[in-house]
């Protein structure tokens, strides 16, 4: 069971900051889910140490031109999954460079379109 919490680009850093206690919560990853050609859902996923399947997910539905705020000041380990989102979905994340996974001559933003 995933406890899903909808938030906004303006509030997401504050919401995660209010929620996250480092000795209690484990940051799993940042995930992207293409909803339609224009919209991608960005998910910040957490588990809880020592608890059975206690999963919390903050999510925001964003347009392709919007910039995702960085949570690296709260979650230093998020830097790597933020860069993955940039490469895979072609969405800008504050302070995250392209090129972690894909070279310049690779297919760009391979997960940035939906459908088969």
């Amino acid at each position: 069971m995933i406890n899903k919490i909808k938030t906004t680009l303006e509030r997401v850093v504050e919401d995660i900051n209010n929620f996250y206690i480092k000795e209690k919560h484990h940051f799993l990853t940042l995930n992207g889910l293409k909803l339609d050609e224009e919209t991608t859902q960005i998910q910040w996923i957490f588990s809880q140490y020592g608890e059975i399947d206690n999963i919390t997910m903050f999510y925001v539905d964003v347009k392709q031109y919007e910039v995702i705020p960085s949570v690296v000041k709260i979650l230093p380990s998020a830097i790597i999954s933020q860069r993955e989102i940039v490469d895979m979905f072609g969405i800008d994340v504050e302070g995250s460079d392209k090129g972690l996974y894909l070279d310049e001559d690779s297919e760009q933003m391979p997960l940035g379109s939906c459908g088969i």
């Binding site: 889910l33 293409k34 996923i45 830097i79 999954s81 895979m88």
Partner: protein
């Protein structure tokens, strides 16, 4: 005061200490590493994309098993469990026990591979060859149970593909007894051998505070004293019935990681013995009905730490999303933190002690 001279030294993308493509760029002040950057994308294969565009959901277990030769079982099992959560029906208990058996055999040989490489990086070639030779006892068991030494397609949606025979159970008991005696010898060597101690103790340390800060997982986290193991934080598999015990360290250095892995091998052997002694009767496979509709998130403890699969389907044969979070990828920021302040000469041994898997990372 003289200006500090910073020298940039790369490690990788191909390096003798790790025959996998990863590049760390170290800024060094004399021998001391002061800054680190990494590049992990040399073998990106687009598997997440392929899983939603080229393969139907029931073929994906065999695709994700190709992500990594070493922990193929954990990948296919994690995906399969995520799908099973969205379908109607229950996986037989015997199949769950057999799944744990394979996951734990996989953990034993993966930890042995890591330990052999760390010994090699301390210049202990004989130990490297000894452990690699002993590892064959586990590979033989995997071949007998699944048909393949590595990259086996043992798990399918609804159960497992092969039952186990009384002859195989006998072989499992014999080989595990041999490995158990070998592991006791390794623990003595890793603890008391002068050259291994000199190279590993107080080297490449991750503190408990840093483990929390960088969300460390697997043996890297447990060696630092962080009580986290997905086997105790999920209930898809009956780990509480087969004798699982979390193994913790408190030093966070290379030696601590080695000892945690060695103790985990012993615990895995114990679990495998308990499984074959108390294997339930019944079927090994149930045909589950329907197509995945909804979202599912499943975590499993791979040999290197937490593996996560997130899937989303809408009742069609092709899934909308397959998200794979692999242990090495998640630990890259923690790796970089450990390198800072270490001597460049220790970097290969530190890297080997992380047990990185670039196949998983650049899936």
């Amino acid at each position: 005061m003289a200006n500090k001279k910073i020298i940039n030294i790369p490690l990788g993308s191909q390096h003798i200490s790790l025959l996998e493509p990863v590049k760390f760029k170290f800024a060094c002040e004399n021998e001391k590493i002061t800054e680190v950057d990494s590049d992990v994308g040399f073998v990106h294969r687009g598997i997440e994309k392929a899983c939603t565009t080229k393969f139907k959901f029931d073929a994906v277990p065999y695709v994700v098993a190709r992500i990594c030769g070493l922990c193929a079982i954990t990948h296919s099992l994690c995906y399969t469990t995520a799908v099973e959560n969205l379908l109607e029906g229950e996986v037989p208990l015997k199949a769950k026990y057999l799944r744990i058996l394979l996951v734990e055999l996989d953990r034993i040989h993966s930890h042995m591979l890591c330990l052999s490489h760390t010994a090699e990086n301390a210049g202990f070639e004989a130990m490297f060859m000894q452990i690699m030779g002993d590892r064959e006892y586990v590979m033989d068991l995997q071949e007998k149970i699944t048909g393949n030494r590595i990259q086996f397609d043992y798990v399918s949606i609804g159960g497992v593909n092969r039952d186990i025979t009384s002859e195989i159970i006998k072989d499992i008991k014999t080989n595990l007894k041999i490995i158990k005696a070998k592991v006791d010898e390794y623990i003595y060597e890793f603890t008391n051998n002068w050259s291994l101690s000199l190279k590993f103790q107080d080297i490449g340390t991750l503190s408990l505070d840093e483990a929390y800060d960088y969300n460390a997982i697997g043996p890297l986290a447990r060696a630092a004293g962080l009580k986290t193991d997905v086997r105790s934080e999920t209930n898809y598999l009956p780990y509480d019935e087969v004798g699982y015990k979390m193994q913790l360290g408190n030093t966070g250095d290379i030696h601590g990681r080695n000892i945690v892995r060695l103790n985990e091998i012993l615990n895995s052997i114990q679990m495998c013995e308990n499984i074959v002694d108390g294997l339930p009767d019944g079927e090994i496979f149930t045909k589950l009905k329907g197509k995945p509709n909804g979202e599912s998130l499943v975590r499993l403890e791979a040999p290197r730490g937490e593996l996560m699969y997130y899937i989303k389907g809408d009742g069609k044969p092709f899934l909308n999303r397959v998200r794979i979070k692999t242990p090495t990828f998640a630990c890259i920021p923690a790796f970089m933190e450990v390198f800072k302040g270490s001597n460049y000469a220790d970097a290969p041994a530190i890297l080997a002690s992380f047990d990185p898997c670039m196949s998983c990372t650049a899936k």
